[in-house]
């Protein structure tokens, strides 16, 4: 278990550190289930996941995780109200067609939502666009405009405003500096919208949790 622990991505480590032991968690877009497996092993959570890719779903079930294959925007609707303590949307928001509807659904089925995404207003991205005049390609967003699954660009500021406008509450946030698949990283305290590569937010419905 320790070996597994040390292998997890830094951003997932932060998310895991926010989750109360023994809680009920659903991971939307859970991939091969690294975070779920970690949360079950280390935090004793009751975890389940949703993933679109058959291969990844199969990997999860083979590991003994409870995961179902489907589109998160559709699958999120079938759960009863407040079925979960935490609903996690890790590194997927930038690929969602209707983020507003999804985030509202997350807070219907869960008490708290945890959302993370690559920060598009990182200074390197700004500089790239300014100097090269081309759509930025970074380690966090490594795709070209024509092959990217990421249909939106989001900055930390944008997300904060979105949450405010939607009448929701940010309960906790972390701006971090790490690279995709990296196990190491750091919290960015100063000028996060400029310096952080990722943002992680815990949100709740209006009036707090």
């Amino acid at each position: 278990m320790t070996g597994h622990h040390s292998q997890m991505r830094y951003d997932l480590e932060i998310i895991a550190s926010w989750i109360e032991p023994g809680s009920r968690v659903v991971d939307l877009g859970c991939g091969e289930g690294d975070l779920l497996q970690h949360l079950i092993a280390r935090k004793g959570v009751q975890g389940t996941g949703i993933e679109l890719n058959e291969e990844k779903v199969a990997r999860c079930i083979e590991k003994g995780l409870s995961v179902l294959q489907g589109d998160i925007s559709a699958e999120v609707h079938d759960y009863p109200d407040k079925r979960f303590d935490y609903v996690i949307l890790s590194q997927t928001l930038q690929q969602v067609y209707q983020p507003d509807a999804l985030i509202r659904a997350m807070l219907r089925i869960g008490h708290k939502g945890i959302v993370s995404f690559p920060n598009f207003s990182h200074w390197q991205i700004r500089l790239q666009l300014l100097l090269s005049g081309r759509a930025p390609v970074s380690r966090q967003l490594p795709y070209q405009w024509f092959d990217t699954p990421n249909i939106r660009v989001i900055s930390l500021k944008d997300f904060r405003k979105f949450v405010q406008d939607a009448g929701l509450t940010i309960l906790r946030e972390a701006a971090i500096n790490t690279h995709t698949e990296d196990r190491y990283g750091s919290i960015v305290a100063w000028f996060p919208n400029l310096r952080a590569t990722y943002g992680i937010f815990m949100i709740g419905a209006e009036g707090g949790p």
């Binding site: 009751q46 389940t48 058959e54 779903v57 199969a58 999860c60 079930i61 083979e62 590991k63 003994g64 995780l65 409870s66 995961v67 179902l68 294959q69 489907g70 699958e75 079938d78 759960y79 009863p80 079925r83």
Partner: protein
Amino acid sequence: MSEYIHHDKERISVGLVSKKYFTFAEPPDEMVLESGSRLGPVVLAYETCGTLAPDRGNAVLVLHALSGDSHVAGCYSADDEKPGWWDCMVGPGKGIDTDKYFVICANVVGSCMGSTGPSSVNPATGRAYGLDFPVVTIGDMVAAQKALIDHLEIERLLCVVGGSIGGMQVLEWCVRYPEQVASAIPLATTMRHSALAIAFNEVARQSIMADPNWNNGDYYEGPKPALGLAVARMIGHITYLSDESMRLKFGRRLQDKSDFSFNFDADFQVESYLRYQGRKFVERFDANSFLYITKAADYFDLGKQHGQGSAVNALSKARARFLVISFTSDWLYPTYQAREIVKALKKNGRDVSFCEIEAEWGHDAFLIPGERLPMLIHGFLERVAHDRSP
């Protein structure tokens, strides 16, 4: 389900198995069926493999489909060329690992493979039941299995697993005896037949009943309705395959000839295949059993029988953990029907995993050796077994 009986590539097998019989519901304590009719005595043919743990907590009940039997894995004798129908799944180190689990498989009531059915002798007349055999339901099949499980003194099944009509029995088990089922794997199945599935079954039944030898089900002392049953099986086979699998397997290739015969012999390979499957089936299966079991499948409606018309209500009774599986090319029970199961389970807050396996083999994909399904079942069972033991 069709016959895909393959020896394991590495010849790994549970080894020798034998068919056993359990008799219950002796008059005057007959089984009361869902229709209100009484049936007794009832014999169930069953087989087991693996070893029952001292705490009796490692039992896995496998439920077979329309034409299956209790012979799930292994062989009857050393020179037996034909292993059980799910030998690729059940055995040492396989998806359902007989080194860890005690596997039970019983032939359903109404069948003809050792359990009481229309071809059994009616104690009241001394002749085969024929159409005097009462119509049985999926619920009746499960109630009979429950009697067997109680007889084996198994308080709680670690898992119930089955495909197609076997999958219907899995769902029925979960709502009928919720406390007795720790986990469930319904494969390539549905909570109720679509009009399409009923239509195919009805055409198959009509084919049997149109055979003059059928004689209103009273044929056990004369010639069997072999042609009718063969055609019924041919219809079934079409529904078990898929457009894609038939294209790959047969295409428009001709059978042992280079040109059309310009008569009504089997020209195409697909015709020859269906005729062969039909003939082979007649040798081992009873036409009346085919009528009864397909009728049971058509009547099955989990929501109607257990939830006042609502599948969500019905599955609110379930206490098991679920792994639901569908196959992309299954047009008999397409994925949307598996998703309805998943949806109802989610609404009830049940622990459910679901995977739609990419497969070209149609409805029968669950019977065909492959990597994915055994790995999924293996991982799922490991977790269930792990969580059971402290």
